[in-house]
């Protein structure tokens, strides 16, 4: 459990971090909370020559709630979970991060780190997809935004360029008539998701579902939107029958992974179960 030798940098500005990334190229890894990277290094599954610690960059640690909820890429889970304004503006985000890992993980782990690492069983990517979050990344050419839908390319791979840093993530406020929920079966050892489903619904003035986004994590190589389920629930009155019909379509068109904790077959079945639970909870919340 001893990593290979590496150089360590702790820049205090994003620009400095970006230039370190440029300088060291593929030898460098960004270090956030370190809960994914450091264990992999200790097991020598990865041996980066350079670590650039981004947790000393105060500009990317803020959490603010205005027209939307903006969370710095370096903000910890704890900073988000314990923020009352976040909880009232976007409860699902606070709920999701409040149950990640354990206290130690939440005190160190960062929002940007989770999204950039794109672990197939991480919780946050599902919530980011369901809420239609926008990720702001800064590289040598300046800042750009990435829609959550474009972010997760494949297992452990995102749309980020090698020398970009997530500076902030923007989530919508959930106003009246909107609801969102994240429901998860935990892998008992790691507490990652065996299956996690995030659902967002917006009701129209007629009380029917006007808009829905559903995303699954844990079951396959990457967090995945459930288009068929979204289409099936949209326009319905969101009652049990509608939820059941929409749930039937969940997880039909996606790739699965199996391991000693849950087979592909079981994950496929659980996607439906947790989609149903997340949708029901989101709709109930939307109705107030």
């Amino acid at each position: 459990m001893i990593p290979g030798e590496f150089q360590y940098f702790a820049p205090t500005t994003v620009d400095e971090a970006v230039s370190l990334l440029q300088q060291h190229g593929e030898d460098a890894k960004l270090l956030g909370g370190g809960h994914s990277l450091l264990p992999a290094m200790k097991l020598r599954l990865t041996t980066p020559a350079v670590l650039i610690d981004v947790t000393k960059i105060s500009d990317i640690k803020g959490v603010s709630v205005n027209g939307s909820v903006t969370v710095g890429g370096g903000a910890t889970y704890h900073a988000v979970a314990s923020n009352d304004a976040v909880r009232s503006a976007c409860g699902v985000l606070a709920d999701c991060v409040a149950q990640i890992g354990d206290t130690q993980v939440r005190n160190r782990g960062t929002i940007g780190g989770s999204l950039a690492h794109a672990d197939p069983a991480a919780d946050l990517p599902a919530v980011a997809l369901a809420l239609g979050a926008t990720i702001t990344a800064q590289g040598p050419g300046g800042a750009r935004t990435i829609n959550a839908d474009d972010m997760f390319v494949e297992m452990l791979t995102t749309a980020l360029e090698p020398n970009e840093i997530i500076t902030s993530v923007s989530f919508p406020r959930l106003g009246a008539g909107a609801g969102a929920a994240y429901e998860k079966m935990r892998q008992p050892a790691s507490r990652y998701a065996i299956v996690g489903v995030a659902a967002y619904v917006k009701l129209g003035s007629d009380g029917n579902v006007a808009e829905a986004r559903v995303a699954v994590t844990g079951a396959g190589p990457k967090a995945t939107r459930q288009d068929a389920t979204e289409a099936a629930i949209t326009g319905t009155n969101g009652d049990d029958a509608a939820i059941a019909a929409a749930t039937d379509k969940a997880g039909e068109d996606m790739d699965y992974l199996g391991d000693i904790h849950a087979s592909e077959e079981y994950r496929r079945a659980m996607v439906k179960v947790y989609t149903k639970r997340a949708l029901a909870k989101a709709i109930a919340q939307a109705r107030g």
Partner: protein
């Protein structure tokens, strides 16, 4: 006369804890010696491979590397011994060497040792060693390993069978089955577990060239035994040339009983290099290369009458022992399993056959409960299966077949010593009352109507504690190659301080506290003035170690008897001081006094002073109050109890939630109820962990898939229920304090309570049995397929 508050029976907080919970303990890795070097071990990535060559030249060139050794270098010391060769394994006891040479038999087998100036360099050097492996076919499953064509691990063990052992009465059992009204058959798997002490294992060895003496600090539950094994068997040197010290030990659960390669290779290298050598496992190494527990495949049948009398039990078990024999591995699935297989029931005909099998996996040896959890899980599952088969209430089947109080001492016919004492029905009744059994079945029926699956599981267990006596365990039939007595010395110093040295030791159980409670009461001295010293072979009398819930029943009794000797001597000296007849002296509350005249008294402090200055002692009495006892009990003790769990199964996911957990245990007379409860809590947690979460999984290539804490599910507090505990008290007649032991009861009583509850919850789906762990997927599949 002052009244002295009794300490025994009080829930004193553990005197060990302030130091440990404020980070001021002294564990192996806290110890730093002048000139200390650090070892790292290259371990085979293959589960079975011929090693054609090892090239260490690049690694040796790394600055800071002191030396690199391979198995060939260490051929001047013997393989580690197997001390408990139960089941006549003598002809093929294949034990590990300090480093394996020529072949690796499991993924994690140590094949080269780097010694470096620091741990980082040592680890880096491992990556520079080049090994030419020739992978060989692998077998990890104990039953498959015995089949024709299976890969062979050892030339002297055809079909990988280490031993075949049996107990009970085969013919009578076969007869009982052929005439039985009802028989039920099942294959029951007791899965492999990884003990996971919070502190991993290791050793720090120092060699003194001037005297030829070693000192080894080790994470051991049995330093005296390690001293014996490492000197007499591995190094072939006099026992006096080795001092073994267990500093604070951060949990063991059995994994730290055994003699390990790291003890031998640190000693060997320290002598070779003239520098202290430290090795501390990382967690991955602990998982891959220290011992595991359980791993039985069992075909079991129970026979009985339609009205619920059990008439026969027939067992055939394939016990996976791993690639080599660990120190006491053969004794676990034999003496500590087969001989207690009939549990709390009077079963007229029972037979148990066990195959001990070598496989390409880490060694399997004692893990908390050691054989007894496997036995009680088996019988308690089968009693439930039988009850379901005949449509009888499982509580009533148990009650009907219990050994009765008048039957004790009870011979179960399995070659065990007689059960010492027991009264099983009150514990069952109390547990049933606590859980509200009378109302539960209605509640369950109502819940089922609403699609909620509640289940209740009962476990009535008995176990073997205070494991001894030497005359039984040491016989060739049991195969333990030594005794199992314990020792204690007591000295009363001039200042009235009482210093106890014990051959027993704690690794988290609170022995310092309970032993001091006993001495304080028996000698009538303040608890605070009793000091318990242990864990260092220099300065403590020999003892066999802490395991098998035996520290109190055996070591504690040695202590109790030494106190009695001190009192006798104190009375003689007091008689002399009081100019009275020794026969007229009584001892109570820390004073010796003339019978009927408590005013004419001498305190223990005054007597100790007199004994020490010694200018006026009675004729023939030696100076100083200093007494030692070597105690070998006449029997083991047999704690028992009933645990009941209520669970709810989520019909959609298969997830199991524990709603209630009730335990009524009888551990004999309680010394410290708080410590007993603590032991039970931890034990139950480990049993629940086996039932629901933990599983040491090897893939077919012999890779440990559950090789990290990200995949091996040790439960956290939130995954465990509140424990509702009560006790009955049936003193043991075996020892004067009437104590039995509590260290393993929780583990032995719990897994089957959970599994019986889960399977009860699944009754509407026609589920009759489910293997552990009852993961959500396993439960869901059981619901799907019925």
């Amino acid at each position: 006369m002052t009244t002295v508050t009794k300490m025994v029976g009080q829930s004193l907080k553990r005197r060990e804890d302030p130091k440990l919970i404020t980070g001021k303990g002294n564990f192996l890795d806290d110890i730093k010696l002048q000139g200390m070097s650090h070892a790292a071990i290259l371990r085979s990535p293959y589960a079975h491979a011929k090693i054609n060559s090892i090239d260490t030249s690049k690694a040796k060139a790394l600055p800071g590397v002191i030396a690199i050794f391979t198995g060939d270098d260490m051929m001047d010391i013997n393989p580690l011994p197997c001390a408990w060769q139960a089941g006549r394994v003598q002809n093929n006891a294949n034990t590990p060497r300090a480093l394996s040479a020529g072949k690796a038999l499991y993924a994690g087998d140590g094949i080269a040792m780097v010694v470096a100036e620091n741990r980082y360099i040592a680890r880096d050097a491992l990556d520079l060693i080049e090994v030419d492996y020739e992978p060989l076919p692998v077998v990890v499953d104990a039953k498959k390993a015995t089949e024709a064509g299976a890969p062979q691990l050892h030339e002297n063990a055809p079909n990988n069978i280490c031993m075949t052992w049996d107990c009970g009465h085969k013919d009578a059992t076969d007869a009982a089955f052929s005439s039985a009204e009802v028989t039920v058959k099942e294959q029951i798997i007791n899965q492999r577990l990884i003990p996971t002490p919070m502190e991993t294992r290791g050793a720090l060895a120092r060699y003194d060239e001037a005297t030829g003496e070693f000192t080894v600090w080790m994470t051991s539950q049995a330093p005296h035994v390690m001293r014996l094994l490492l000197t007499a068997f591995v190094f072939g040197i006099p026992e006096t040339k080795l001092r073994c010290i267990s500093p604070n030990v951060g949990g063991g659960f059995g994994q730290k009983i055994f003699c390990y390669a790291d003890m031998a290779f640190t000693m060997w290298a320290a002598r070779k290099l003239g520098r202290p050598v430290k090795f501390v496992e990382d967690r991955s190494e602990n998982y891959r290369s220290s011992t595991h527990g359980r791993d039985h495949i069992t075909d079991v049948e129970i026979a009985g009458t339609k009205d619920g009398t059990i008439t026969g039990l027939r067992i055939e078990t394939w016990a996976n022992l791993g690639a080599y024999l660990s120190t006491i591995a053969p004794g676990i699935p034999t003496t500590l399993y087969g001989r207690i297989a009939t549990g709390v029931y009077k079963i007229p005909a029972a037979y148990c056959k066990v195959h001990g099998v070598y496989t390409n996996t880490a060694m399997v040896d004692a893990y908390r409960g050691a054989g007894r959890p496997e036995a009680s899980y088996l019988i308690e599952r089968m009693v439930d299966r039988f009850a379901a088969e005949i449509g009888m209430d499982p509580a009533e089947v148990r009650r009907k077949n219990f050994i009765q109080p008048s039957d004790f001492p009870y011979d179960n016919g399995m070659g065990l010593l007689p059960y010492d004492s027991g009264n099983y029905e009150p514990a069952l009744d109390r547990a049933l009352a606590m859980v509200g059994y009378a109302d539960f079945r209605n509640e369950q029926a109502e819940a089922r109507k609403q699609g909620k699956y509640l289940g209740l599981g009962i476990s009535s267990y008995v176990e073997i504690c205070g494991v001894a006596p030497s005359a039984w365990i040491g016989l060739p039939g049991e195969g333990w190659g030594a005794g199992l007595w314990e020792s204690a010395n007591i000295r009363v110093h001039l200042t009235g301080q009482v210093v106890v040295t014990t051959g027993s030791l704690p690794h988290g159980q609170g022995v310092e506290t309970t032993f001091a409670q006993i001495v304080a009461d028996e000698l009538g001295v303040p608890y605070e003035s009793v000091l318990i010293e242990h864990s260092d072979t220099a300065g403590t009398p020999f003892g066999y170690g802490t395991y098998g819930s035996r520290s109190l029943a055996v070591g504690g009794t040695a202590l109790y008897k030494s106190v009695a000797k001190v009192k006798e001597k104190a009375k003689k000296i007091a008689a002399h001081m009081l100019e009275a007849n020794p026969a007229d002296i009584e001892y109570a509350d820390g004073k010796a006094y003339v019978k009927g005249s408590p005013d004419q008294a001498k305190t223990l402090g005054e007597i100790a002073l007199q004994a020490s200055v010694a200018y006026s002692l009675p004729e023939g009495v030696e100076p100083f109050l200093d007494e030692t006892t070597y105690y070998d009990p006449p029997n083991c003790t047999f704690p028992f109890g009933t645990h009941i769990a209520i669970v709810e199964v989520d019909g959609a996911t298969g997830m199991v939630a524990i709603k209630r957990y009730v335990g009524v245990d009888d551990v004999g007379n309680p010394i410290n109820p708080l410590i007993i409860d603590g032991q039970l809590h931890g034990g139950i947690a480990q049993g629940i962990a086996q039932a629901l979460y933990e599983h040491g999984v090897y893939d077919e290539n012999g890779q440990l898939v559950s090789g990290t804490l990200m995949d091996y599910a040790v439960p956290n507090a939130a995954m465990l229920p509140n424990y509702e505990l009560d006790r009955t008290v049936t003193p043991s007649p075996v020892n004067p304090m009437g104590v039995k032991g509590a260290g393993e009861a929780g583990t032995i009583g719990s897994a089957q309570a959970i599994m019986n509850a889960v399977i009860d919850a699944l009754a509407p789906f026609g589920v009759k049995h489910l293997q552990m762990p009852a993961t959500a997927e396993r439960v869901w599949r059981a619901m799907q397929s019925h």
